[in-house]
Symmetry: C2
Subunit: 119 residues, 2 copies
Amino acid sequence: MAEKQQECCEVFQIHEEAVQEVLKHMPDENKLYDLAEVFKIFGDSTRIRILYVLFEAEVCVCDLAQLLNMKQSAISHQLKILKQAKLVKSRREGKSVFYSLADDHVRTIINQGMEHVEE
Amino acid sequence: MAEKQQECCEVFQIHEEAVQEVLKHMPDENKLYDLAEVFKIFGDSTRIRILYVLFEAEVCVCDLAQLLNMKQSAISHQLKILKQAKLVKSRREGKSVFYSLADDHVRTIINQGMEHVEE
DNA sequence: CTAACATATGAATGTTTGTTCATATGTCGA
DNA sequence: TCGACATATGAACAAACATTCATATGTTAG
């Protein structure tokens, strides 16, 4: 195998093919970046708590602020992030704006994560 | 309903019971915090890429650094985080340290997230 | 024991991110 | 139209984080 591309450690032969396999199966850079972005959104306890509330009911911003004991502004900012990520949707009714889950995918992902935590 | 606890907006009646239901079904604070912590770990593209490599093969630190085109130090730091979260495990063999997935839960969670991204 | 290699780790740095405050936008009743 | 209420948003600040550099630890061959 003369000079294959340079490796850092000297244990070529073991991984030579494994590395090729890896490169073949890796999704492309952008997709992996997007994936990380999605998880990043779930990676904040305020947003997780918001989503858990929305599991049970469609609620307005002020209800969320009170339930989670946080400033209305903080909740709004987080809802914006969740909405941009298409994880929640909103509906205006008079002065209030009601938020709910965009789809059940959210629930599935969170439940999966919860299973891991509960071990 | 006289004076139930004060609400921010005036639309009590609609949510009064919904709010009670929500509070009943919410996991406790600490569990939600832990859940967010788990997702936070998946919320970085370097770590995601590391995990994707480990989907295919058990590799050493220098292989990872080369595959991902990053400094060995950066990889080590991230591996430490992944290990503390029990998402990967390591095995020393001579001078090298080989990393692999701790269990298949990791794969499930990431696949679930990927499904969401791929829509 | 020493030199060379593989990995780990602490400190420093630049960036990202969540919350707050102040204020703007939007809605409705009077 | 005006005032009160609900929500949204920009700027500012602090905390959290990823990467880098320098260096320490651990391992093997000679």
